[in-house]
Amino acid sequence: MEELDVEPAITNIPAASDGKHLGFAWGPGDILAYETLYMAPGMCRHQHKPLSMFSHSCAKGSGCSFIHEVRKDEDIYSPILRKLFNESHHIFVGLQTIREDLPSKNKKTQFVSISKNYRSVIRACMEELQQVAASVLVLQVSILLAIELIWNLCEVLFIDAAPAGPLLLHLLDWVRLHKGDVDEKAREVLQSESPAEHHDYWDVVVSYVLQGRFEEARQMLVKQATLQPAARNMYKLMDTLLSKMPFYNPGGTQTLTEFDVKWRHWHEEVDRCLQDNSFASNQHLEIICKILVGDEDTLLEHKELLSTWYHFLVTRLLFCHPTVKPTELHYYAQSCMTMFLDLRSVPEPLDSILLAAFEFDIHQVIKDCSIALNNWWFVAHLTDLLDHCKLLQSHNLHFGSNLREFLLLEYASGLFTHHSLWQLAVDYFDNCPEFGHVYLELQIERVPLDTERKALKVLRICEQRQMSEQVRSICKIMAMRALRNNRLGSALSWSIRAKDAAFATLISERFLQDYCARGTFSDLDLIDNLGPAMLLSDRLTFLVKYREFHKLYEENRFSEAAKLLLSLITAKIAPRSFWMTLLTDALPLLEQKEVSHSAHCALHCGFGHDLCFSKHT
């Protein structure tokens, strides 16, 4: 099958279209566009006049000075889609945890159940969208409808993988689910004064028959029968035929062959009624009889009621070949599509996708969906599920990844630009073994660190995954920001978390400068409780210890204070600029009686040593 090829979409920008260029800049989740003029350098290199003389009139306030923010249309209804993304994320994560060692029968049930969960999430989203009356949403609803239709078929054919027998029943369910207008019409007819005389009455009956809903067809026919007592026998005959049509029972003891035999007998009986002209006097019943016998021409005469070629396909199979095998489907699908569609009309993308599904060409389905739907959510989740069902052969892609991962990465990357959904994306990246990690590294750095809380959230994610470089970078950014805003305490905690010794030194120096200028320390809580983190840099250690010295002094614990001061001096971690300060601090200590004699001497020695030291450096 040839590749689906589509024109790229054109988005209009309110800008000049003649003689101007369009500049652009990529942003998170958008692209900016603006009018500009690129010039060959030769023109500007030798010019002395301002460039504006060569541009088209770009006078004050004219159009060339606008910047246009261009976004994907998903943003319009993103509040509703958000639910879809959130709930499907939940299902996705659950799917990844299904154990490999489960027996395949159990797994299949689980997979089918997960598929149904996804579909119910789609339908919930559709329902919400339908309640919001906006013209632009009609399109999105249609897209979701298509998605659900395709997904449902994939579930029937690939995941549930029904064999001949149940296959047709599932297909019938599928068609019935997507042809809800029958029930609406039926309701209208039944609520009318005389249903059997309603102008839509026969349409409803025929529609029921086309969908294999014989119980309902029979109930409707009863109403007509009571109105035409003279034709009572004919209606009785039709009722019998309808009630006797065999439907395969998957749970029963009957084999497919036995069912087939039974069905053929019934088919012959219906044919005999046709040959006998049993319904000749009632055109409607005659039509129904022809439908029951599977007459193609009659079916095609009801294109309007069938409305789609795949409805026609399932109906045709119901009345011609109910024991159809999965491998035979594509033959019938192709011929039905050809018969149903006009000679003029060309298959639409949806038709191609469904046809590919009937041909069991999973890769073609995914490929066409990726192109046609421009909606990564769908192909990503469906492909992931199919991959878990082991239905995808691994294609060798140019950089060694696979289709599932490619789609999940695309989808998750799109999520990342959203201010709250980006957290969901992390789980998707986590489940992409080849490139998930590097994608996450690249994108998580870009999450804006608007608040400390958000920064901590991002950090937690990075720390959990041993992304040490990202941790360092984020902490450094926060530290820098704090420092620029003169929030020294915050800057210090961030640089400690970044394990950035150089920056910690810098900030410690600022603290010390502050102290020299004002005589007090700021952020005492922080400094007093650093613990082992103070060892990150010498300067920081000094700062903490120096503060400790002051605390001891204030608490009149002079002996300890002296010892500490001494150790500070001897350890040589004091910055040179601080030596005078230390000397000044020591003086009052020397006057304290509690300071031991040995400490006295040591201090003196220490100073002597210090002064010596300072002379030689």
């Binding site: 054109i10 800008a15 009018e35 003029l37 606008f66 910047i67 409808l145 689910l177 920001r481």
Partner: protein, 380 residues
């Protein structure tokens, strides 16, 4: 009960393709002359614009998405060609380059609380780099793991790499490397890869229009031993003037991807051929195998800008056809144009000189291709 009867038929899915993007907002930038460059900061919360009116403006995005101009000042004595942000690890730092033969570095100073309340900030010049004798055509910061390094290229054919050794003192920059490329330079791009496996690498494009000089793109690589940059490769197949160049972000690949804006859009794959790392360190730069991955001439004539989005899943290009085109590779590495931005011929006009942000949802003013409506699968 969810209505599922309206199954999409004629043309719906085609329309799904057509309405992908819309103009969400139009900001009156209020520059008095052509805008030459617009640059988002690392987190996408601020942007800088520069213009032929010789000024740079800085814009901040508020929580509700509105843009406010928080600074506007004259930066050069000639048209300002490019403006770029340093990594936020270095604070709030901008660099600009101009026709006036200089590049400049600017730092934001946190002002008085009055200014903050009024939503204004101040930027001061930290340094002017005056080494170039001609118009400085591009200015880019090197990847952050290299420290705070700034690169310029000029019409005089020289690439200059400056470093600020003390990140807390941005007035001190030293010229570390001066690389003569022999041809006038129009653009540079650093390979953003920070992996240890790749030494620092950048590409230079030349807009020299003499086609007899082949190789308008040169790749330079840093050598740990000589502590210098050496030419690793010249792309000889690029013979026309090159206006822009962009390395794609590296996503765990072993090879590099480079996009080039010349008379068409070209995407190259550069594969390092490395036998044994121990042997090759002293003998020069890594040998690179050059493969062309894609080539598009849809812009009809010259392509002026190329740039990758953050995840390198999309490439955008701007050309003489007045369009911006978006390019994407599918999982089989086949490239396609997936979107076009085009001026519609009716530019907005601002009512006053105030730089305010206008939120106009221009919604469904999307042009549908006639082919698409007819449901034909076109060859493009």
């Amino acid at each position: 009960m969810c209505r599922t009867d309206r199954v999409p038929t004629a043309g719906i899915l085609w329309l799904a393709l057509v309405v992908i993007m819309f103009v969400a907002r139009s900001i009156a930038a209020d520059h008095k002359d052509l805008i030459h460059d617009v640059s988002y900061d690392f987190h996408g919360r601020r942007m800088a614009t520069c213009s032929s009116d010789q000024s740079v403006k800085v814009w901040d995005r508020s929580e509700n998405g509105e843009w406010h101009c928080t600074a506007s000042w004259k930066t050069h004595s000639g048209s300002v060609w490019r403006v770029t942000w340093a990594h936020p690890e270095f604070g709030q730092v901008l660099a600009s380059c101009s026709f006036d033969r200089t590049a400049a570095v600017w730092e934001e100073i946190v002002g008085e609380s009055n200014d903050k309340q009024r939503g204004l900030s101040h930027w001061i010049k930290r340094t002017t780099l005056v080494d170039s004798r001609t118009s400085v055509t591009d200015v880019k910061f090197a990847p952050k793991h290299m420290g705070l390094m700034l690169t310029t290229c000029s019409a005089d054919g020289v690439v200059r790499i400056y470093e600020a050794p003390d990140v807390m003192n941005l007035s001190q920059w030293s010229l570390q490397h001066e690389i003569s490329c022999k041809l006038s330079c129009s653009c540079i791009s650093w390979n953003p890869s920070s992996s240890r496996a790749h030494p620092p690498m950048f590409a230079v494009g030349s807009d020299d229009s003499n086609v007899t000089y082949g190789g308008k793109v040169q790749i330079y690589e840093y050598n740990e031993n000589t502590r210098k940059y050496a030419k690793a490769e010249t792309l000889m197949t690029v013979t026309d003037a090159v206006h822009d160049i962009a390395f794609a972000p590296n996503l765990g690949r072993s090879f590099h991807v480079l996009a080039i804006a010349t008379k068409d859009v070209r995407i190259f794959k550069l594969v390092p051929m490395r036998s044994d790392r121990k042997e090759s360190t002293s003998t020069g730069p890594t040998k690179l195998e050059v493969q062309i991955v894609a080539q598009f001439d849809n812009h009809n004539s010259q392509v002026w800008r190329v740039s990758w989005n953050i995840t390198s899943t999309l490439l955008a290009s701007s050309g003489d056809d007045g369009c911006v085109r978006l390019w994407k590779a599918n999982y089989m590495d086949n490239w396609k144009c997936t979107g076009i931005l085009k001026g519609d011929g009716s530019p907005l006009t601002s009512s006053s000189g105030q730089p305010t942000a206008m939120s106009t949802i221009v919604g469904s003013s999307v042009q549908t291709s006639q082919n698409a409506l007819n449901g034909m699968s076109a060859g493009r």
